[in-house]
Assembly symmetry: C2
Homo-oligomer: 417 residues x 2
C-alpha cells in the first residue's frame, strides 16, 4: 500500500518484553518459570483423548491441594473471581437466603455478587483486621436460617485468615451449604475442604500457586453437585438423551453453569465453551510443582516467609496491621509510618529496585502497605531483598531505623519453628 | 513421610508433552508459536505502568482488527463465550425484548444466554445451511421492536456467514442496538464494526487469530457504552467519587459487568478482577501477527485456504454442505458419503495422520464433517496434507475416488483469484 491505513497503529509496538519486576504485593506474583514453559506446549482439540486425559489428570492433581476426595474437582475458565461467581450463581437462586461471613473487601465482593443474583443477603461481620468468632457465625446461622453460608478463607484486603474448622458441621446441621473462597490461600495455607465440611471451595493460580491469573480451580461436594444438577438445563443446541433437565430454577448464567461444566469434565464430555487449554496446562504445572514439593513443605515455606517478613518489618520499627492470632502466612499488612508518603515509597521501590509492594483498599487505603511472599516468591532471598529495599527507601525518606536489623530479624525468624 | 499420602496421585504425571496434532477442525486450532512464546514472558502487577501500557497497546492493536475507531476495544478474561455473555448481560436487562438472527447452533446459544438473563426473546430464522435474508430481518425488527438485535457473523455449526452490511442502520433507525458474535471469523474474514454499524462485536483467539482459547476481544460503540454506564453500580469495597452509579438496572453479573471492566481499562484503573496477564500477552501477539501480515493479505490467505479445501473435497467426489453464496472462508462442511462411517474416518485421521477434523452438532450430527483452515493453519501445505490424508482414509474405507484429484484441484484453486 502506498498510503498507511489510518486505522493501523503507527507501529506494531515491540516484542513483548516486560521489565523483570519482583512482585511482592498481595498478588498477582511472578509465575514459576516451569509454569510459563508448560504453557508454551502445542494445543489440542477439546475432545481429543489426550486433552481429556490431561483434564482428568488436573482433577486428580487438585484433589490433594484442596484436601478433598471430591469427584468434582476441576477448573473454571476465568480468573479467581470467575470461580467465585460460578459457585454462587450455580448454588443460589433468586430469593435464596445467604449468610456472608464478612471481614474485608472480599466478603463485600461476595455480597456484591449475591446481590446481582437476587439473593437475600445476611451478614455476620468483623472489623477489618479481625476474623469472625465461630460462635457469632453459629448465632447468625440460627438467626437467619440461610440456604448457604459463604466466606473468604484469607482476605488479602485485611491479611486475616478465617478459621474454618467445624464450620461445615454447623452449616449442615442447619441445612445450609458452605462456600469458601480460597483464592488467596490455595497453595500457601492448608486447605482442608473435607475436614472443614466445605461444599464448594474455589481458588486462583496467581497467588500461592505461582501461576498467571486466568484459571480458577474449584472443588464441589456431592451434596452441592446434587443441588446444582437439580438446576440442569442443557442448551437447546446440544441436548443429549442422558442429560435430563432438573426441576430446579435454571442457573442464571450460561458461562458459569457448573452443571454444564461438570458434564464437560465428566465422561459425557458435553460441549460447552472451548476449554482454555493453555491455562489448563499452566494450572496442571502449578499443581505438579506443589505436589512435587510436598504439601507440608509448601505450607512451612509460606509460613517461614510470612514470619520472616513480619519480623523484619517490626525490626525496622514498623507496626504490623491486624490480629496476630489470625494472620495469613503469605501477606503482611504494615502501617505506613507517620510523616512518610506511602505512594512515594511504593514508587521508589518500583523504580529503584523493580519491586512491587501493595497498596490497600477502603478504610485501609493510604494507611497500610500489603507485602506478600507467595508461591514462587515465598523464598528467603526475596524476603531479604524486599526488606533491604524497603529499609533503603524509608531511610532516604528520612524515617529513622536501625540499619540491618530487618534482615537480621528475618533470617532468625525464617529458621525458627 | 514414611507413608505416602493416600490423597496424592501415585505419581505426579509427566511433564506436559501433548502429541503434535494438526488441528483442522472448526477450532480450536494450533496456536502460532510466536503467540505461545509471548505467553512465557514474566508477569506484572495489574496496575504497574508497564502493564497498563500493554493494555493500552492491546486496545490500539485490536481496533483495526475489528474495523473500528471505538475507544472501548479491549479483552474479556474468559473464552469467546465469556465475551458473548458479557456483551449480552451488560446490554440487556430482564424484560428487554431482543431479536436473535438464528441460523445455527450459536444463534441458539444467544437465545440460551438471553433466556437466563430474563430477556423476551424473538427470533428470525433460517434453515441450517442458509443465512437470514436482510428483508426478513427488517420485517422482524418492525414486527418485534427489539431493544437489541443479536446475530452471529460466522456460525461454525453450519459454516455460514451472515451478511451484515446495512444491518446497523436498520437497527438504529428502529431504536435498537446491534450485537455481533464474531468468534469464528475474527482474524479470518473482514470485520467491519463501524461500517456495519455494530454496537458490540466480540471474538476469541482460538480460531483465525491463531491463539489459545481463554481471552475474548471485544469492541463497544459509544452508544452501547452509554447504555452500559447507565447501569453502573460499582462494588461497595472499591467505590470512587468519580464513578457515580447509574439510574439503570444493575447488571446481572459482577464478573461480566462491562461498566466495571471499562473502568479498569480506562485511566480510572478501577480494581476489578486480576487481569489474566498471560492471556493478554497472547492476545497482543495474535494482533501483532495479524497487523504485521496485513489485513488484506490475512483475509486473502483464509479465502484461498477455504477455496482450496472446498475444491479439493469436491474433486474427491464429496458434496459440500450449505449455501455456496454465504460460505465462511475458514471452515467447510462436507457430507459424509453413504456407506462411510464418519467417526471411523475421524479416528483414522487422528491416529494415522495426527490430524483432527470436526464432527457436527444437532441436525447435522453424523451427517457432515467440518474441516477448518484457520489462523496459523490457513496454509497451503496444511490444506494439501489434510486432503491427502482424508483421501487415504476414504480409500482405505472402500470409497471410490480419483487418486490425486483433490490435491490438484486444491493447488489450482489456491492460486485462482
Amino acid at each position: 500500500m502506498s498510503q498507511p491505513d489510518p486505522l493501523l497503529p503507527s507501529n506494531l509496538f515491540g516484542e513483548i518484553d516486560p521489565p523483570q519486576r519482583l512482585l511482592m504485593g498481595p498478588g498477582p506474583v511472578n509465575a514459576h518459570p516451569r509454569v510459563l514453559r508448560a504453557m508454551s506446549a502445542d494445543l489440542l482439540g477439546q475432545f481429543d483423548p489426550e486433552m481429556t486425559g490431561y483434564m482428568n489428570q488436573v482433577m486428580a492433581l487438585y484433589r490433594p491441594i484442596f484436601g478433598t476426595a471430591n469427584r468434582w474437582t476441576m477448573l473454571v475458565d476465568g480468573t479467581a473471581r470467575a470461580g467465585i461467581e460460578a459457585a454462587l450463581v450455580s448454588l443460589v437462586a433468586p430469593g435464596d437466603r445467604v449468610l456472608v461471613v464478612n471481614f474485608g473487601r472480599f466478603g463485600l465482593l461476595l455480597t456484591e455478587i449475591l446481590g446481582r443474583i437476587g439473593a437475600v443477603i445476611e451478614t455476620v461481620d468483623a472489623p477489618w483486621g479481625q476474623v469472625v468468632p465461630m460462635d457469632a457465625i453459629a448465632a447468625a446461622i440460627e438467626r437467619t436460617a440461610p440456604k448457604l453460608v459463604a466466606t473468604i478463607h484469607g482476605d488479602t484486603s485485611t491479611t486475616m485468615a478465617q478459621p474454618l474448622n467445624g464450620l461445615g458441621a454447623l452449616c449442615h446441621a442447619a441445612g445450609a451449604l458452605l462456600y469458601v473462597d480460597a483464592t488467596a490461600t490455595i497453595g500457601g495455607m492448608e486447605l482442608a475442604t473435607d475436614r472443614w465440611g466445605a461444599d464448594i471451595v474455589t481458588g486462583g493460580l496467581q497467588k500461592c500457586l505461582g501461576g498467571p491469573s486466568g484459571s480458577a480451580p474449584i472443588t464441589i461436594s456431592d451434596r452441592a453437585a446434587e443441588v446444582i444438577f437439580a438446576r440442569r438445563h442443557t442448551e437447546a443446541g446440544i441436548r443429549m438423551a442422558e442429560l435430563a433437565d432438573g426441576a430446579g430454577p435454571r442457573i442464571g448464567s450460561n458461562y458459569f453453569d457448573l452443571a454444564m461444566i461438570m458434564d464437560y469434565w465428566s465422561d459425557k464430555r458435553l460441549n460447552h465453551h472451548t476449554e482454555a487449554t493453555t491455562m489448563l496446562y499452566g494450572a496442571r504445572e502449578c499443581a505438579r510443582l506443589m505436589l512435587g514439593e510436598g504439601l507440608e513443605a509448601r505450607y512451612a515455606r509460606h509460613a517461614a516467609a510470612g514470619r520472616a517478613m513480619t519480623a523484619g518489618l517490626r525490626a525496622m520499627g514498623l507496626t504490623v496491621f491486624g490480629d496476630d492470632a489470625h494472620r495469613m502466612t503469605n501477606v503482611t499488612g504494615v502501617f505506613i509510618p507517620e510523616g512518610v508518603e506511602g505512594e512515594a515509597i511504593r514508587t521508589m521501590m518500583r523504580e529503584a529496585f523493580e519491586i512491587e509492594i501493595g497498596t490497600a483498599f477502603g478504610p485501609l487505603s493510604g494507611k497500610i502497605w500489603r507485602i506478600g511472599a507467595m508461591g514462587y516468591n515465598a523464598a528467603r532471598h526475596k524476603v531479604l531483598i524486599t526488606l533491604n529495599a524497603l529499609e533503603s527507601c524509608l531511610r532516604r525518606e528520612g524515617f529513622a531505623l536501625a540499619p540491618g536489623a530487618a534482615v537480621d530479624a528475618a533470617m532468625e525468624a525464617w529458621s525458627r519453628v
